[in-house]
Symmetry: C2
Subunit: 113 residues, 2 copies
């Protein structure tokens, strides 16, 4: 396993002032949008190397392997960077619920329109 993110990838990222890029997480087969999370270079490196979706928790200030405590893991199928380098699309196979509320996705509870 490498210890740094591929420099060719790192050079293409356009990070927030906190060093993060957004990660849109999608169930690979159904197309459901599960959640939005954030990654820094190290979270992206771990996600690519391990295929276990790993984020940076802005509220807790720590790395977060999705499902490490809940069991609701995300096996990573693909990762793509968007045209301006500030957003990732992470396609996963989600075990169980993606949302901490127990809902399948984080967008199930509050339709506005």
């Amino acid at each position: 396993m490498s210890t740094d993110l591929d420099p060719g990838i790192a050079a293409r990222l356009k990070r927030t002032s906190d060093g993060l890029v957004a990660a849109v997480v999608q169930q690979h087969d159904t197309g459901e949008v599960l959640m939005l999370a954030w990654m820094d270079d190290e979270a992206l490196r771990r996600t690519i190397d391990t295929r276990a979706a790993t984020y940076w928790s802005r509220s807790r200030g720590e790395y977060w392997v999705k499902g490490a405590t809940s069991g609701n893991t995300q096996r990573v199928v693909s990762v793509a960077l968007d045209c301006d380098g500030d957003t990732l699309l992470v396609r996963v196979d989600q075990t169980g619920a993606a949302c901490h509320t127990g809902a399948r996705t984080c967008f199930d509870a509050d339709p506005l329109l």
Copy 2:
């Protein structure tokens, strides 16, 4: 047409320090994730009222009706707020390309994994 965002919705938004929430934009029938954009209260109000997807351009500092110049409009089918109130899922019917590069989505060009 109303002039302010519904106060019941506004109270549930958790905005960035710039007053924005992220908007994940998805083609309603195929499930393709098209792009990530940003909305403030007024952009969300216009999106809900007009059903023409309207964003806040962070680079240009102005409202932006998707497709107003390109013709690649987004008719809004549904809008949902996520569990912690900082991300919207906007399901649309996209005309033509979503990406300014001419690609169907902003995630087509740069697979990392």
